[in-house]
């Protein structure tokens, strides 16, 4: 019979709660808030940017590095769509600066 809970057990319980429930709660709240933001932007301007600055930059790098890839046309379409939306809309889902958007060139 254990009357008091040792410190090691408290640590284990705290790790379990923070690492699982903490992370799960963070992920759920973050994704639901992002959903609300997307819905708000879509209601306001019908379209939203589809890539973050880093994501779009990596997409462009991939397109340039793979000129013969069978998925290249689809990649270009996705890239150009995002550039066009960024230029056509005032409010963006990802954190884009005006200078970053101005530097973007369609492929």
């Amino acid at each position: 019979m254990v009357d008091t809970i040792p410190i090691d057990t408290w640590i284990g319980m705290a790790v379990a709660i923070v690492a699982f429930w903490g992370v799960a709660a963070w992920a759920m709240i973050r994704t639901l808030r992002q959903e609300d933001r997307k819905v708000e932007l879509l209601e306001d301007q019908r379209r939203i940017d589809t890539y973050s600055p880093r994501g779009l930059s990596e997409l462009r790098e991939w397109i340039e590095a793979n000129p013969d890839d069978p998925y290249r046309d689809d990649a270009i379409r996705r890239y150009n769509d995002c550039v066009e939306i960024l230029r056509a809309t005032d409010r963006h889902f990802y954190e884009w600066s005006e200078s970053e958007i101005e530097r973007l060139e369609p492929i």
């Binding site: 090691d8 057990t9 640590i11 319980m13 759920m28 973050s52 880093r54 994501g55 996705r78």
Partner: protein, 485 residues
């Protein structure tokens, strides 16, 4: 081949619906009885740390790959994998997943039947009635094949009814209520359990950190097995659920991080709920699966207000089981409706009918059920996981999928570190765990059956797709794939 009569693809009605579908699919009976016990047996907090590392290193990247492929292709498992591999023999990787998925459901449905039976009896206050004896009650159920088959039939009828209503009106409507109800039920039991005299012993058993366990290979193997069986990687669920995502939906945050950590959180909650109860009433914590069906009913007899707690527990237990079963069956329904001339409703009847038919032996005999469980869980699941990750890692190419789909509309950015994990680390880990299981069961019938399955299922799958796709017209885009690095 799909008919032109098939209309626009269904979508999740809300982000919450998608998240609950993923959690509902992944949380099953194993989260409730297995996680707390394996944790306590393998160093408590140290095991939790090992499990967490493997979750982030293997399971989250794997789930991200599945959801991203489903989202990109907008197809069920065979269609999605065919898009990655190109039509023909290699698309048989998708058939492997389908066969394993349906095989798993044939013995999971009778287990869901047991939970249904126990839930019904909790409402009838059977467990707190005079003269109730848990072992005899379970034995009487197992010795009554007509009742077992009736329960299996009832479960498949419930599943078919939900799936018949469709993705949004059926599956989503079930999971958005059932999963929160399960969490609330377990939370209520946990609060009651930890306040019982003697409950601290259960918490000490489960959560005490024994750091030396991190140096034991057995701790890591158990953590790997738990992570594999509980996250649902390789079942084709994440591909299918991801294929119903909407245009602007994220894949990696919801489908990867939240799903893996969220479903494990239910196991942690179960640890707070079940093991304090078990220790407070002096029940053997090593009862394993029998814990929920034999040991816990005995606890409810002695517990103040036990009849109500039995209702809360067994309702939650049934919800955990039925939501998994519904979404697992959806994998087959989606694929069959896309790959054949059958409509969705005909596919529901066809897939549920096949599972019901092949599930009859498992419903009839617990020995057959356990043999099927051991064979398919130990080798079928890793095999199916390898099939999916070979399609993503070696045919589609992880970098291609990452830049095209995973990071599009993503809630978190996934860097290039993801590529080698999906291409090498996760598949090799699956090979390793299959080898460990084979060694553990060397020479036994389970191992021989597993090896036959490891050879037979891929051979049949590749032959089927070679024949089926050989008769179909080639698809230009898919033909030209072949990895990206």
């Amino acid at each position: 081949m799909a008919t032109e009569a098939k209309t626009a693809r269904a979508e999740w009605g809300s982000r919450f619906g998608f998240l609950m579908a993923m959690i509902g699919a992944m949380v099953g009976v194993g989260n409730i009885w297995r996680f707390p016990f394996v944790t306590g047996e393998n160093g408590g907090g140290a095991f939790i740390l090992a499990f967490l590392i493997l979750l982030f290193l293997l399971m989250i990247p794997g789930l991200m790959a599945e959801v991203a492929l489903g989202k990109y292709t907008g197809k069920g498992i065979i269609g999605a994998i065919r898009d990655a591999t190109g039509p023909g023999t290699a698309a048989g990787l998708g058939v492997i997943v389908l066969i394993v998925n349906i095989a798993l459901m044939t013995y999971y449905s009778p287990v869901v039947g047991w939970t249904l039976y126990y839930m019904i009896h909790s409402y009838l206050f059977t467990f707190t009635g005079a003269g109730f004896e848990a072992g005899a009650f379970l034995g009487a159920l197992f010795d009554n094949p007509v009742l077992m088959i009736a329960l299996h039939t009832a479960v498949m009828a419930i599943i078919a009814s939900v799936l018949y209503l469709g993705i949004s009106n059926g599956v989503e409507r079930l999971v958005v209520y059932a999963v929160p109800a399960l969490v609330l039920g377990l939370a209520a039991i946990a609060i009651r359990a930890v306040t019982l005299p003697g409950a601290s012993e259960g918490l000490v058993f489960t959560f005490t950190v024994q750091w030396e366990y991190l140096t034991f290979s057995q701790t890591w193997i158990e953590a790997l097995a738990q992570a594999l069986f509980s996250t649902g990687l390789g079942w084709g669920i994440a591909i299918t659920v991801g294929s119903y995502l909407r245009e602007y939906d994220d894949a990696p945050l919801g489908g990867g991080v939240f799903t893996a950590v969220g479903e494990a959180s239910i196991g942690v909650l179960a640890a707070f709920a079940i093991f304090p109860l078990v220790f407070a009433f002096g029940v053997d914590p090593a009862s394993g699966a029998g814990l929920t069906f034999e040991a816990l009913p005995q606890v409810f007899i002695e517990m103040p207000g036990g009849a109500i707690w039995a209702i809360v527990f067994f309702t939650g237990f049934f919800l955990a089981a039925i939501t998994s079963a519904v979404v697992i069956t959806e994998v087959g329904v989606t694929t069959v409706s896309e790959e054949t001339r059958l409509s969705r409703n005909q596919s529901v009847l066809g897939v549920c009918g096949v599972i019901w038919l092949f599930g009859l032996p498992s419903a009839y005999s617990v020995e057959i059920l356990e043999f099927g469980d051991d064979t398919f869980a130990l080798w079928g699941l890793p095999l199916a996981t390898i099939a999916i990750l070979v399609a993503v890692g070696w045919f589609m190419g992880p970098e291609r999928l990452r830049v095209l789909s995973l990071n599009q509309n993503a809630g978190i950015h996934v860097g290039r570190w993801w590529n080698p994990l999906v291409k090498y680390v996760v598949p090799l880990t699956m090979v390793f765990i299959m080898a460990v299981f084979a060694w553990d069961f060397r020479g036994e019938d389970i191992m021989i059956a597993g090896m036959v399955m490891l050879v037979g299922v891929p051979l049949i799958s590749f032959a089927v797709m070679r024949y089926v796709d050989g008769r179909a017209e080639p698809q230009t885009q898919a033909e030209a794939t072949g990895g990206d690095d």
